[in-house]
Amino acid sequence: MTAVVAVADVLAVLLLAAGCFFVVAGTLGLLRFADLPTRLHGVAKADNLGLGFITAGLVVHALAHGGGIAGGGGGAGGIVAKLVLVWLFALLGTAANSHLLAAPARPEPGAEEKPEREPGPGPGPETTPEPEAPATREAP
């Protein structure tokens, strides 16, 4: 029994680490990409994948421990259901958000900042490939 829990713990930590990696990648994409569509692309894909991995890690943890750090098994069903629900909501929301945000915009009334003014001293192409990897792996 303890061996199973230990294996589950290792698996959960691995999944959480993968989740962290993808969330960090998404955040880097948000910070470093050159314009709005590419940023959206990084955020929508990498970040949701990250949330999915973190959710999966917590699901494994809940199945092994039953909710808490120290608790025994049992009572994990509700936790798993809600974690999955969080992820599904995030997927739904991101799909709609990305579409709405990426739709060609009329010039905003009185945008006080010019959209042409791009931040980021570094050139785009060097940073582009990194969050590209999660993006391509996301589609199963």
Partner: protein
């Protein structure tokens, strides 16, 4: 395990702080809202991690609420400016 969850929470918090940079910097409102959409997802991840860490089931509800209402905010912001 507890240490791992703490570490994950700290990393996610740093990601939220990084998102602040984009939200503050812009340049367009859409960029800011993109940052907020990211923070909704990251914040939800943070809350579910904390829910497991502190064994508080209600924080998973909070994550659900955050994700759902972040979507509402985006819908509100983009209305009237998006072409069909």
């Amino acid at each position: 395990m507890e240490i791992a969850l703490h570490a994950v929470a700290t990393v996610l918090l740093l990601c939220v702080l990084a998102g602040l940079w984009r939200a503050a910097r812009g340049p367009s409102t859409r960029d800011r809202v993109t940052a907020f959409a990211l923070l909704g997802t990251t914040g939800a991840a943070l809350l579910v991690v904390l829910a497991t860490l502190t064994q508080t089931a209600a924080l998973r509800d909070a994550a659900l609420v955050l994700v759902a209402l972040a979507t509402v905010v985006v819908v509100v912001v983009t209305r009237g400016t998006a072409e069909r």
